[in-house]
């Protein structure tokens, strides 16, 4: 008698397509997945515990290491939380520099996603193109902050130092270049039949599921929910720029791809406007007390990172260290839906579904 039995397939923790140290235990029957169990925590460094013994400015470099593909947004969220508590005003030039840096980071992050996602799907050259262009952004941010990925550039009340001479001009020159490249990427991949057949209708979920599972970023917007903190609860200077929130209705991996690609375009639009509006000189650090002591109480702020809503909760007892600090890390929330998505799927689609969520394990594990 022929019979089939359930088999356990282990993916990761060290597998190139898990984008970090992430383990997935799959129970499969033939090629169909019966149950998927994610195992995380390999990269848990106890950031929140360490931060309880640090002064606020000292915590900023730790945030670089959570979402290491877009460290600027992480820098911003903790500064924004402390500034909100203390009511600090940020000089215009500093705030523009922050916006430019964050949006450049968003483009760089989406490029990494684009390149690696296509690599996951078996296409090699997009990866090289994406990393070439991303390297240009990294060079710009290195010139600005002195570090390649762990920028530690923002400070409570502003930024660490002003941009070097001619930096804004270099950014302005980069924008049209990136637009041309993006058009090329669409030509290379977006209409490709093999690519579309790998992602269309794959990893599909509804709007209600996305909301129930607390998904954010492109994972939420791909189901027809127009929700972007930059638009819906504007922070920083985002109410001064003209940009759209790309939304798709289908809720599959292709929709998420389209959302992210369109977001690159919108970020370039924001960078362009910010470079025009930025005051040519002025202070880059506001009036901040020597010792940063937020008042007793608690705050929660959220901003839009490339991966979704990143939030920061601080409970302060009035001293120079936080009593409790908690980061709402979007990848951690976004990954929760994975077991539901994988149930009943063919194993050939696992990587296409996981890749489309766009996770950074440093952020999942905190």
């Amino acid at each position: 008698m022929l019979r089939t039995e359930e088999m356990i397939l282990n993916v990761g923790p060290q597998h190139p397509s898990t984008h970090g140290v992430f383990r997935l235990i799959l129970k499969i029957d033939g090629e169909i997945i019966h149950e998927a169990t994610p195992v995380i925590g390999y990269l848990h460094r106890g950031t929140e515990k360490i931060a309880e013994d640090l002064q606020y400015t000292q915590i900023i470099p730790y945030t670089d290491r959570m979402d290491y593909l877009s460290a600027m947004t992480n820098n911003y969220v903790i500064c924004h939380a402390v500034e909100t508590m203390m009511g600090i005003e940020i000089p215009e030039r500093a705030e523009y520099l922050r916006v430019i840096a964050m949006e450049l980071g968003r483009v760089a992050s989406h490029l990494v996603w684009w390149g690696t996602y296509l690599l996951d799907l078996g296409s090699q050259s997009p990866f090289l193109y994406a990393f070439r262009d991303r390297e240009m952004i990294i060079n710009l941010l290195t010139e600005l902050s002195g570090a390649r990925l762990t920028f530690n550039y923002m400070r409570i009340g502003g930024v660490k130092w002003d941009a070097p001479d001619g930096w804004i001009k270099k950014v302005q020159e980069f924008v049209p270049y990136m637009r041309r490249q993006l058009a090329g990427y669409h030509e290379l991949v977006s209409g490709n039949e093999i690519f579309i057949s790998r992602v269309k209708g794959v990893g599909k979920y509804t709007k209600n599921d996305a909301i129930a599972y607390s998904l954010s970023g492109a994972n939420l917007r791909s189901t027809g929910v127009s929700w972007d903190v930059r638009k819906n609860d504007p922070y920083s200077l985002y109410d001064r720029f003209d940009f759209d929130v790309p939304v798709r209705q289908e809720g599959d991996a292709l929709a998420r791809y389209e959302c992210r690609m369109a977001e690159i375009d919108q970020s370039l639009k924001i960078i362009e406007q910010a470079c025009e509006q930025i005051p040519s000189k002025g202070p880059v650090l506001g009036k901040v007390p020597r010792m940063i002591r937020p008042p007793k109480g608690e705050t929660f702020v959220r901003i839009e990172s490339p991966r979704g809503e990143i939030g920061c909760y601080i409970a302060s007892d009035g001293s120079k260290e936080p009593y409790r600090i908690k980061f709402r890390r979007p990848s951690f929330y976004n990954l929760q839906i994975l077991p539901k998505l994988l149930k009943g799927e063919n194993i050939a689609n696992v990587i296409a579904i996981l890749g489309a969520v766009d996770i950074v394990l440093g952020e999942v594990d905190g």
Partner: protein, 164 residues
């Protein structure tokens, strides 16, 4: 700005009235506008009615907080606190919901049946603070593993896990 704050005050009072009608006066511990958190309306409820309140704030037509942005716990030494930041995407409003529990026996009802997104955050709070969420389908130590001793984010935590 002033007008916005007035509006939020009225909103908060409206929410509180709805809740008082449905769960009685005693369930609510406190309510205020949290000025440090961008003037977000905040409601603190008793542990016994927490799950019931969660259901009401999600489903009541005047609230519709269908999106759970954040859930975590904090050890305040006198008590444990569970903090929820809720978002109504349709109404574009947010709300902070909190409940307190005993520090030595921290047990809180799970809200995973209301927001599936609470699944992992509740595991995280259990892992790092030892708060038990009753009714959670798979409460486990999500980061540290089941053999880890103690709950690191508790203020009196001492590391008993020798480096191997």
């Amino acid at each position: 700005m002033e007008k916005g704050i007035d509006e939020r005050n009225q909103e908060l009072i409206h929410y509180v009235n709805i809740l008082k009608n449905q769960i009685g006066e005693n369930g609510l511990e406190d309510y205020y506008i949290n000025e440090l958190a961008k003037h977000t309306p905040t409601i603190v409820v008793k542990q016994e009615v927490y799950q019931k309140v969660a259901k009401i704030v999600k489903s009541h037509p005047d609230m519709q907080f269908e999106y759970l942005t954040e859930l975590h716990g904090t050890d305040f030494q006198t008590h444990m606190e569970v903090f929820l930041y809720l978002q109504s995407i349709s109404r574009k409003r947010s709300l902070i919901l909190k409940t307190k529990t005993d520090r030595d026996q921290p047990i809180v009802a799970s809200v995973t049946s209301i927001w599936e997104g609470a699944m992992w955050p509740e595991c995280e709070a259990y892992d790092l603070l030892g708060i038990r969420f009753e009714g959670h389908p798979n409460l486990h130590r999500i980061f540290l593993g089941e053999d880890w001793k103690g709950y690191p984010l508790r203020k009196d935590y001492k590391d008993e896990n020798p480096l191997k």
